[in-house]
């Protein structure tokens, strides 16, 4: 079974810094990780490979440092890793991103039986890329899947959607986006990360290899753009208190009393 997992490298840093000109994240110098739900998707792919044989190829679109996440995927057990990287890809919205990924997937021989990805990312949180890849490739999709069973040339999957638990049969090839319950994530085998970083092979494809023009990708190939960024949705102007543990504890208890979670004490 030929499986392709699409992963995204996302910031793992609490501090976000924004390039206010391009309205995008400044990724240099920040910690990054595989988007958690994509890691679940990878695990689901590895699990299917274990029981049905085949190959797991991991794809990611991003700047050159995206290689780190692909090496992590190799360490987890992926057979092949391809980084889709090109300066022209910067600033892509989901329309352009899905185009790049779909083009890359259609270059693979043989064409995969199954595409897996996380149902959303922790930074963009749109959940659009999976369905848009499926649309471009003309294959069916099922999103938010928490259980996958393979049956001959189709999958029977389960997913929760608007309060309904659906059992869905989908013919292959198909795109499945997974929820966090889909597969437990095992830790990496000891030493696997080192091997992946020293010996792992990550192929790089850019506009040329994919046969896409600059107009089809990046900011130019996007239909939406961010006009401006607005103040944080949920900052609070709280008081910051330093001092002895006694002082801190008293302040904490004072607050709990103030909101009614503790009865006020006399004296």
């Amino acid at each position: 079974m030929n499986i392709v997992v699409c992963i995204k490298q996302v910031p793992d840093e609490p501090i976000i810094r924004i390039d206010s000109e391009r309205m995008t994240l400044i990724r240099e110098g920040t910690e990054s990780t595989i988007n958690p739900l994509d890691r679940v998707a990878l695990e689901a792919g590895l699990h299917l490979r274990k029981h049905n044989g085949g190959q797991v190829t991991v794809l990611s679109m991003g700047p050159p440092r995206g290689e780190e996440s692909l090496r992590e995927a190799l360490a987890a057990g992926a057979d092949r890793a391809i980084l889709l990287t090109d300066p022209a890809f910067a600033g892509s919205d989901t329309l352009a991103t899905s185009h790049v990924l779909a083009r890359a997937i259609s270059r693979l021989r043989p064409f995969p039986d199954l595409l897996l990805c996380g149902m959303k990312t922790i930074d963009s949180d749109t959940g659009h890329v999976g369905p848009q890849i499926a649309e471009e490739l003309g294959i069916p999709q099922v999103c938010g899947v928490n259980k996958i069973n393979l049956e001959e040339d189709s999958l029977v999957v389960e997913r929760l959607s608007d309060g309904f638990l659906d059992t869905v049969k989908v013919t292959l090839p198909a795109l499945i986006s997974v929820s966090r319950e889909c597969c437990p994530v095992r830790s990496l085998p000891l030493g696997a990360l080192e091997i992946a970083f020293s010996q792992g092979d990550v192929t790089r494809w850019g506009c040329q290899e994919l046969g896409v023009s600059e107009e089809e990708v990046g900011l130019k190939g996007s239909a939406t753009r961010v006009r401006r960024l607005l103040t944080p949705a949920f900052t609070r102007k709280g008081e910051i208190v330093s001092g002895s543990p006694r002082l801190l504890v008293d302040r904490l208890i004072g607050t709990l009393e103030a909101v009614g979670l503790l009865d006020e004490e006399d004296g």
């Binding site: 609490p14 976000i16 958690p36 739900l37 989908v170 939406t224 949920f234």
Partner: protein, 333 residues
């Protein structure tokens, strides 16, 4: 009646499943009316299914000018590809200016496919919409960067301008039984989708969850230092009659079960009070706690981002504060 008045409208996808609890379509009709008035056009609701007459009448009652209907047995169950085929055909013919949908599970799976089919822009889970007075463009405000910021998104050239909107952001108009409107039935070709078949669909009871119901939640992060330190949180929770949550590094380290994970890949909680101890405030964690009424954070680093979202920030060593807190509380009770 002329086709002209059906062109360039504000369209709203009729997501009628769970109609009486799921009010998002009605909320979007209400908002759509305001947008349509500014743009001098009409609100059309799209209705696909079988025997959906009741909803056509409801949508007119709640402010739609037009309901565009596709009735066919193969449309009876929501289906992404079948619905994409029908709505894309309509969009090509009637060229809507704006197309809105609720950010329900179905909406969030259907709209991206439709937007790709139409090669247009789509913003997800918007928390506000407005028409820019200068350009006439739809300004779509969406959460960005894990919800820490808001982004104002525009689709300048492509049409329709598509967006899914978070439920309960807008208010529906009251039901008006005296309302009148039009129902339109375009000619459509519907082919049964043989690639995706729903074998079974069962309504799920909402699982009651102690953590999500708790009035007070105490969360421990990596800054606690050890599993033994983390265990103190359970005693604290007991004293305060609350529940214990954890961040991802803590779960990965084995100090707490996956059930306690809070954040993007874990649970979202909205307690009265949330005490976050030894957590730096990573994006994927804070997104699960940002709606708590009162947030108290304890961290040794005054620059920790968690303090930006705390109502009360306490700078100190959790290893000193926690035991003293427990002792103080034990003596009170």
């Amino acid at each position: 009646m002329d086709k002209g008045s059906l062109l360039h409208g504000v369209w709203v996808f009729g997501d009628y499943r769970n109609y009486f609890q799921n009010r998002v379509t009605l909320q979007l009709i209400a908002k759509g009316r305001g947008l349509a008035e500014t743009l001098r056009t009409r609100v059309t609701v799209l209705l696909l299914g079988e025997a959906v007459h009741q909803y056509a009448m409801e949508y007119i009652a709640h402010g739609a000018d037009v309901v565009m209907v596709a009735e066919h047995p193969d449309l009876k169950c929501y289906q992404v590809e079948s619905y994409t085929n029908v709505v894309a055909r309509w969009a090509e013919a009637f060229k809507p200016n704006i197309l809105l949908g609720g950010a329900t599970s179905f909406g969030r799976e259907f709209f991206p496919r439709l937007a790709k089919r139409l090669r247009t822009g789509l913003s997800a889970d918007c928390v506000n919409l407005a028409v820019d007075p200068d350009t006439g463009l739809l300004l779509q405000t969406t959460p960005a960067f894990g919800g820490n910021l808001l982004a104002e998104v525009v689709t300048s050239q492509h049409r329709p301008q598509m967006a899914t909107i978070h439920p309960c952001v807008f208010k529906e108009l009251p039901h008006n039984a005296g309302a009148v409107g039009r129902v339109v039935y375009p000619e459509i070709e519907v082919k049964a989708n043989t690639r995706v078949r729903v074998l079974r669909s069962r309504r799920q009871q909402v699982q009651r969850d102690n953590l999500q119901d708790a009035e007070i939640v105490i969360v421990g992060g990596r800054g606690l230092g050890s599993k033994n330190q983390f265990k103190l949180l359970f005693e604290l929770a007991e004293l305060l009659e609350g529940e214990v949550g954890a961040t991802r590094p803590v779960v990965l380290a084995g100090w707490a079960d996956e059930e306690r994970l809070l954040g993007q890949t874990g649970k979202t909680v909205k307690p009265k009070v949330l005490i976050s101890i030894g957590t730096s405030g990573a994006l994927q964690y804070t997104t699960g706690i940002k709606e708590a009424e009162t947030i108290i954070a304890i961290n040794r680093d005054p620059q920790a981002p968690i303090f930006k979202m705390a109502d009360l920030g306490l700078v100190g060593e959790s290893s000193a504060v926690l035991p003293l807190l427990l002792e103080t509380l034990r003596n009170r009770i």
